[in-house]
């Protein structure tokens, strides 16, 4: 008989618990404390029983059975409370069982309210053939108990003669009691019926027969349990009895499975790599061979026109190799798992504009049109990876289209946008619609080697889409054209990442978009001024003197909004004279600012009298801003001459 027991120890310290232990040992009572007046026993009777009712111990166990060695019980309970778990075997006696054995396996938890909650399984192991005794003569029993395996011995009639406590625990854990004398066949049938062993539907009878055959033939077997455990079961006949050992090999099996899977993946990757390198080297060989021929032809060539043609052809060959190497890189990154997905919200228009700029020249070179429809949609995904998918679609579309054009646009799909790439190319047979996303797949019927490509672009697109959890779709009609698409979640417009993350005046300052001509002979000051204006978003043309400025203006067609000029130049010209020179060149009186380190009051007065703003070096950024603002935005015709700022 097996019964489950529980106890709740009161709050407080050890003395209270010792009292519990003493009471339990005296009365064979493993009790649930109720109101402190009496001890109650919870008990369950094996797999066939049900959870019993609470009853006082004295009613449950007539005759007041006692432990032969109460101290061993106290030690068991003390270890239980200290370490959280304990197993022990006790000799007990009562009116009904003069000499019996009880094996107890218990665990203990301390709850948040400070109580100890003990749960135990007590098995009646009386008559198991290994009577307890003192430790010197008891060593066979102790040895069997100490084994890691669960051990059971079946007699000639196939009935259980004895079992160690691990076997008892295994059986109890599977919910199938196996008391002494239970037939093996019966035990196995109960086990199969309990569904604790992982068996297919209707396979229980066959399994029982097989295990019995294993026993007869001493053939080892492996049982896979429903809880995921794997156990090795071995049989050994000895003197008319059969010893059954059960060993938990779950960890070893899991490790084996993991190793097998890792080996499979490694072999798979190796195969892929070999196929890939073979295909890549084959495809690279061709443009390389072409390049060699073109180089030799170029060396031999006598005419410039012929040479130009050869160079153009070389360029094509190089671009083919470049494309193949680009694919190599993408596949390498995907295989190595080195692509980190970075999702964010962004405007589709940014990405569409980049694609338009990248592929329009390529399309036009082939005589095709590329139309990219505008969109105000916000998307949420990894923008760079999405661009790769679309880039693969567009370049395929260009490759397989000889006449007409390519169209890229977005369609609403509820919480998603479907980005579609349409072409007027040769189309793809329906039976290849799935295969085209496989590695190295070449569309049947595509005539030229150049059209075929490496057969990786769509595979890469599919793998990237898998990384992003986006769906790809293809629709095609032979001879009419093809549509490839990718579905992307709609983003949150409030979180849409706009432009730069560095927020400075270079981005949208007050002077953003303005242009300035700086004429300064001191290299350091000119560079500093140029740098500061550039930080403010100003486009700057800088020259060392007036003649240099005029030459640059002519050469570059630069039209400044503002001129900053030093006053004193080595050639004797003054800043105001240079301003006049530049005004004549431009044909307009562009506002100017004179900077000087000279503080002669007469000179300063003379400069101001000419109606030109004046700044004293070192020029204060705030002062320069203020003057620039006035000249550019607040009625420059007033001829402002700002006062000096305090030093």
């Amino acid at each position: 008989m097996t019964f489950r027991w529980r106890a709740i120890a009161p709050k407080g310290n050890t003395p209270g618990l010792a009292e519990l232990a003493a009471r339990a040992s005296q009365s064979l009572g493993y009790a649930v404390l109720s109101d402190g007046r009496d001890l109650w026993l919870d008990w369950a009777c094996g797999a066939a029983g049900r959870f019993g009712d609470l009853m006082p111990i004295r009613d449950a166990l007539a005759g007041h059975p006692a432990f032969a060695n109460p101290a061993s019980v106290q030690h068991h309970i003390a270890r239980l409370l200290k370490t959280g778990g304990s197993e022990a075997r006790f000799a007990v006696s009562s009116d009904q069982v003069p000499e019996g054995f009880l094996h107890d396996s218990s665990s203990c938890e301390r709850s948040e309210d400070g109580l100890f909650r003990i749960t135990g399984f007590a098995h009646d192991v009386s008559g198991r053939g290994l009577p307890a005794g003192d430790s010197r003569s008891d060593w066979p029993r102790l040895a069997v108990e100490a084994m890691d395996q669960a051990v059971a011995c079946w007699d000639r009639e196939g009935r259980l003669a004895f079992a160690n406590s691990r076997f008892d625990q295994l059986a109890a854990g599977l919910g199938v009691a196996c008391p002494k004398g239970r037939p093996l066949h019966d035990f196995l049938a109960a086990l199969a019926a309990s569904r604790e062993v992982d068996l297919a539907e209707g396979a229980a009878a066959d399994w029982v027969a097989r295990v019995l055959a294993d026993r007869t033939r001493e053939r080892p077997g492996e049982w896979l349990l429903s809880n995921g455990q794997s156990v090795d079961v071995a049989w050994r006949a000895m003197e008319g009895m059969v010893l059954m050992t059960v060993q938990d090999v779950t960890r070893a099996r899991n490790a084996e499975r993991a190793l097998r899977e890792a080996k499979r993946l490694a072999e798979d990757a190796n195969d892929k790599k070999s196929r890939f390198l073979s295909a890549a080297s084959h495809d690279l060989r061709q443009p390389l061979a072409t390049l060699k021929i073109l180089v030799y032809s170029g060396i031999e060539s006598k005419s410039e026109a012929e040479l130009r043609d050869l160079v153009r052809s070389m360029d094509v060959a190089v671009s083919v190799m470049d494309e193949i190497l680009g694919l190599l890189l993408q596949v390498g990154q995907l295989d190595a798992g080195r692509i980190a997905v970075q999702r964010h919200h962004f405007q589709a228009s940014q990405m569409l504009e980049r694609l338009r700029r990248e592929f329009t020249p390529i399309a036009e070179q082939k005589g095709l049109t590329l139309r990219v429809m505008d969109s105000a949609a916000t998307l949420e995904t990894d923008r760079v990876l999405l661009e790769r998918i679309l880039g693969n679609f567009i370049s395929n579309a260009i490759r397989f289209t000889d006449r007409g054009g390519i169209l890229v646009g977005l369609r609403n799909r509820g919480a998603h946008k479907e980005i579609q790439v349409w072409d007027t190319g040769c189309g793809i047979p329906e039976d290849q619609h799935k295969k085209i996303f496989e590695e190295f797949h070449q569309v049947h019927g595509s005539p030229s080697a150049r059209q075929r490509g490496l057969g990786l672009g769509l595979n890469i697109a599919q793998r990237i889409a898998d990384l992003l959890s986006h769906n790809l779709r293809v629709a095609s009609r032979l001879g009419r054209g093809t549509m490839f698409s990718v579905e992307v979640p709609v983003g949150n417009i409030w979180q849409s990442r706009v432009g730069e993350r560095e927020i400075s005046e270079r981005l949208a300052g007050e002077f953003f978009g303005a242009s300035a001509l700086v004429i300064e002979d001191n290299d350091d000051f000119r560079a500093a001024l140029e740098g500061m204006l550039a930080r403010w978003g100003v486009t700057v043309l800088a020259a060392r003197d007036g003649d240099g400025a005029v030459s640059m203006l002519r050469a570059q067609g630069f039209r400044p909004d503002l001129i900053l000029v030093d006053y004193s130049f080595p050639n004797g010209k003054t800043g105001t004279q240079i301003l006049t020179q530049v005004h004549q060149e431009l044909g307009a009186k562009v506002p100017g600012i004179v900077c000087t380190a000279d503080t002669d009051p007469e000179l300063l007065t003379a400069i101001r009298a000419g109606g030109v703003p004046l700044l004293i070096k070192p020029v204060s950024p705030a002062r320069l801003r203020s003057v620039m603002h006035h000249l550019l935005y607040e009625n420059p015709d007033r001829g402002i001459a700002p006062r000096e700022s305090p030093p």
Partner: protein, 400 residues
């Protein structure tokens, strides 16, 4: 024990008198509350105000120097001084003080970046004008895409005042409009400001039949006249005003006709429990005609400064050899502060408040860029974006 003096440079001129008054009120209320709790580490705080006149570089620099030399302030905290081009930073940097303003200018970013060590104490207590641009474009795109508003076209008309603030905002809007499906059909048209005559610009804007009409100038009374002139011959478009429409004087002048106007501000009073309680205390202190929506700016900055100073162990006066203010600055940079305007969280590089949702998606780490719509016959400024700060939904304007 002597008080810790906080200085404030306030533009007490006609066009900005109302804002200057509210900035002073906000600082005074904060100081009163701080002193009622024992001051900063046991020292009381007092406020010294000087007039920054026309807000030019000279006027503001002189005002700053007065605060340093005559009053020995430990910090300067005020609203905006828009024409100074950061010239006052030199005075502050030389004296090693803490300076918190709300100039709302991207110029601030560049000045800090040019020498972070020198300008360690200079903070902009609100996000830069730049954020108005993309924030506004996202806002109208959200109205469109969420179905709350069906624009007649994708055309925008942008009219700008002549202050750097207005020009930057107008340009920022223009630079991102296309990405969100908008076309700037008119402008940015820069009108010299201050002005009350907007007729010429309005005529030109009307010709392009815009779906949205924008004015990035910010003086409340000027904007009120703009709106009245618009209403003389309105067209079917949304009208968006910059910041100044938040002011009570705008609704006082525009009256009922203000209903439907949308106003944006990168720093505004939230209508949550904290904000409402502040508004009640503010009205109790300064009267029902006061504008807590403006006073909240300095109120929040002063409290954040006081907290930072307390954590740092105290404040430092001008030219303090111990450079105590560097410690205060370090706390300001590293400890976000949830105030009645949302969270003041200084970007370590910009030393300006980070906006939500323009820069951060986390409302606990950014100052909300608020969009109000004037509703209920011009009586209420309802927050219609962003979540979670809204108090009402968008409504089509009365002239639609």
């Amino acid at each position: 024990m002597s008080s810790i003096k906080i200085g404030s440079m306030l533009p007490f001129r006609a066009a900005t008198m109302s804002d200057a008054t509210e900035f002073r009120n906000g600082a005074e209320l904060a100081i009163h509350e701080i002193n009622s709790r024992g001051g900063i580490n046991g020292r009381p705080v007092s406020l010294v105000c000087v007039d920054s006149g026309d807000q030019s570089a000279v006027a503001v620099s002189v005002a700053a120097q007065r605060l340093v030399d005559e009053h020995g302030v430990h910090a300067i905290i005020n609203g905006y001084n828009m024409g100074s081009h950061n010239s006052e930073y030199e005075v502050v940097a030389d004296a090693g003080l803490i300076y918190i303003h709300s100039n709302t200018l991207i110029q601030h970013h560049d000045t800090i970046a040019s020498d972070p060590d020198r300008y360690f104490g200079c903070f902009m207590g609100n996000p830069a004008d730049y954020w108005y641009g993309q924030g506004f474009i996202k806002f109208i795109s959200w109205l469109r895409d969420s179905g709350q508003w069906r624009p007649e076209s994708n055309r925008l008309a942008i009219i700008s005042g002549s202050r750097p603030y207005s020009i930057v905002i107008a340009r920022a809007m223009q630079s991102v409009a296309r990405e969100f499906g908008w076309e700037v059909a008119f402008g940015p048209e820069i009108v010299e400001t201050p002005t009350r005559d907007w007729r010429a610009a309005l005529e030109k804007a009307r010709a392009c039949k815009p779906a949205v009409l924008v004015n990035t100038h910010f003086y409340a009374s000027d904007l009120a006249h703009f709106h009245k002139q618009f209403l003389d011959d309105p067209f079917r478009c949304l009208v968006y005003m910059q910041y100044g429409g938040v002011h009570r004087s705008f609704t006082d002048i525009a009256g009922d006709h203000a209903e439907g106007v949308i106003v944006g501000t990168v720093i505004g009073l939230l209508a949550d429990r904290i904000g409402r309680a502040f508004a009640e205390r503010y009205a109790a202190a300064f009267g029902d005609a006061s504008t807590p929506e403006v006073g909240c700016v300095t109120y929040s900055a002063v409290h954040h400064y006081a907290m930072a100073a307390a954590i740092a162990g105290g404040t430092g006066g001008p030219y303090d050899p111990a450079e105590q203010n560097r410690k205060v600055a370090a706390v300001l940079r590293s400890v976000p502060f949830r105030s009645v305007v949302g969270t003041i969280n200084y970007h370590p590089g910009w030393q300006a408040a980070i906006p939500y949702p323009d820069y951060t998606n986390d409302p606990s780490l950014g100052m909300p860029h608020l969009f109000y719509q004037i509703q209920k016959s011009g009586q209420e400024h309802e927050i219609i974006a962003p979540e979670p700060y809204t108090t009402a939904r968008f409504r089509l304007p009365s002239w639609y």
